[in-house]
């Protein structure tokens, strides 16, 4: 069993599953929030990250996920303000330091990560940082689209 969507992608793309002897059964594993993020969400993230008034923040592994044409690393290479964060709370610091920008955090994750995103929204409101839509781009359970935007 492979456990990462990136591994599944490589296996299927290069036909590795067809090269295995028949005695071996390959079972595709669960993957993580990164690899089950729909292509349309990556494309949306790419569009937002290209805007001049946006600082686009994300966990590092999301930057390598390909969109229809380009990934977030590609937008960063072209001059987009794309930042890799360790914690959603770091987006609050960036928002306070850049009051004229819209700070968007790509809030991907399952149940383990949801409390972290919730805390970022909660603390933003406690600290008077204006938040726009708090619909989270979450893979898995609740998918209401949109991004956690902090302004």
């Amino acid at each position: 069993m492979e456990i990462c969507g990136g591994q599944t992608h490589a296996i299927v793309k290069f036909g590795l599953d067809e090269l295995l002897p028949k005695e071996i059964e390959l079972v595709h594993g669960p993957g993580c929030p990164v690899c089950v993020t729909p292509l349309e969400l990556i494309d949306k993230a790419v569009q937002i990250a290209q805007r001049k008034d946006v600082i686009f923040c994300s966990f590092g592994d999301m930057l390598r996920v390909p969109g229809s044409e380009v990934d977030l690393f590609g937008i960063k290479a072209r001059g987009g303000d794309v930042r890799i964060l360790y914690s959603p709370l770091d987006a609050l610091k960036i928002a306070k330091e850049n009051p004229t920008k819209q700070v968007v955090f790509f809030a991907v994750g399952f149940e383990t990560t949801a409390p972290a995103h919730a805390m970022a929204v909660y603390q933003a409101r406690q600290q008077g940082i204006r938040t726009s839509r708090a619909g989270l781009a979450r893979s898995g359970a609740a998918r209401d689209g949109g991004d956690s935007g902090l302004r």
Binding site: C32, Y86, S87, L89, D90, T113, P115, M119
Partner: protein, 90 residues
């Protein structure tokens, strides 16, 4: 995204949901929010995911997990981002 990493609490500031700790991950210090483990104290080990402690673990278990992660080469990203410069690779 996939991993939670164990570290040792070195110091704590703040209260309630804003309670923050300096956590030592094998020499790398990072700020961690303790809102979800209100019982965690200085000297204890916590499992950390995206900047939040999600559970308290015992020292022996923490040591084992940290060793496995080091072996797998999964600790590189910890050293690249510092709490003083969030979002900036060092």
């Amino acid at each position: 995204m996939c991993l939670a990493v164990p570290g040792k609490i070195i110091s704590v500031v703040g209260e309630d949901l804003a309670r923050q700790a300096r956590v030592d991950f094998g020499g790398v210090l990072k700020e961690v929010n303790l809102a979800y483990v209100p019982e965690a104290k200085v000297g204890e080990y916590v499992l950390v995911h995206v900047g939040f402690a999600i559970s308290v673990v015992d020292e022996e278990e923490a040591g084992k997990v940290f060793g496995y992660l080091k072996e797998m080469g999964e600790l590189g990203e910890l050293a690249e981002l510092s709490p003083e410069n969030p979002g900036v690779k060092q």
